[in-house]
């Protein structure tokens, strides 16, 4: 099965990378890109079954993201 976990800085956390990327986008002609946030994508392509939902979310919360500064979302791409 294939799962995609997306991790982004919380809106309340200053994201200097996002600000820098937004600045570069302006240089390329996008006049007002608004707020840009830079995060990470973790793709899990597992030959076995996914752990139960509680376990999966515990791993997302405790390892893949840091709830102090980040939010995450999970997408199930392939069964």
């Amino acid at each position: 099965m294939k799962i995609r976990v997306t991790v982004l800085p919380k809106p309340s956390v200053l994201d200097p990378q996002g600000v820098a990327v937004a600045g570069a986008m302006k240089h390329l002609g996008w006049e007002n890109p608004g707020r840009v946030r830079v995060g990470k994508v973790i793709e899990i392509d597992s030959p076995g079954a996914c752990p139960d939902e509680a376990k999966l979310h515990a791993i997302c919360r405790d390892l893949l993201s840091n709830p102090v500064i980040e939010d995450y979302s999970v997408e199930f791409l392939e069964p």
């Binding site: 800085p9 309340s12 200097p16 990378q17 102090v68």
Partner: protein
């Protein structure tokens, strides 16, 4: 006085800590590999700087699951002083031994230079040898040193006198200009609730000899040694 200096894959200030403890303070200092399951029998534990696990995922995110960290948590609960420096601070935050997190510097650059710190609390085992308001000159070397915590946590840190060090200028003024990385409330170092765990981004172990440009970092190790001596007596 026996110090444990933790060593993770990618730690790179472990030798600096071991050397300064042995040569400048005559202390017994031992490296402890991250796979060890006990750190019992030491008077203090140091989580040194570096890039544990290559900073993969987040700084300190993988190191916090090293076997030794369970033992560090147990020792911290027993009251043993635990000092996290730079990456060690990041690991202690990820492990939940300290609140908040360290994120990318506001200016995005890796900063490696001398800065000034104002001592804010001299009742901890790490700062007892100092005076409140005292200014220390100590180097920083980090890309992710911007301290972040939510407002409630910041308020709690302020109210309970748990901010050990703040970034300041040479005269001790705490201001946005003297903040090298965007840390909230100019925070450079914080204590846990019991006061026996300190995390700090600056490197006191690199400021213990005249030829390194400053001896102000000695205060942290002298305080620790004095506290351990007092505990034995």
């Amino acid at each position: 006085m026996r110090f444990a200096v933790l060593r993770f894959p990618g730690s790179n200030c472990d030798q600096d800590c071991l050397r300064t403890l042995r040569d400048n303070f005559g202390a017994h200092a031992e490296p402890v590999w991250h796979k060890e399951t006990s750190v019992a029998g030491f008077d203090a534990i140091i989580a040194p700087g570096g890039f544990s696990y290559g900073d993969y995922l987040r700084c300190g995110a993988i190191a916090r699951y090293s076997p030794v960290m369970r033992a560090v948590r147990e020792e911290a609960e027993r009251g043993t002083p635990v000092l996290g420096i730079c990456n060690g601070f990041q690991i202690l935050c990820e492990a939940g031994l300290l609140p908040g997190a360290l994120v990318r510097n506001r200016g995005l650059h890796f900063i490696c230079r001398q800065i000034h710190l104002r001592l804010e609390n001299n009742s901890s085992p790490f700062t007892r040898a100092g005076l409140i308001g005292q200014v220390l000159r100590v180097p920083v070397a980090h890309g992710e040193g911007c301290y972040y915590a939510d407002n409630d946590t910041l308020q709690r840190l302020e109210d309970k006198d748990r901010i050990a060090f703040r970034y300041c200028d040479a005269d001790g003024n705490v201001s946005p200009e003297s903040n090298p990385n965007g840390s909230l409330h100019n925070i450079a170092g914080i204590l846990n609730e019991k006061g026996n765990v300190l995390g700090m981004m600056p490197h006191p172990e690199r400021a213990c000899e005249e030829r390194l440009g400053s001896t102000d970092g000695r205060l942290v190790f002298e305080s620790l040694i004095n506290s351990a001596m007092a505990a034995i007596q």
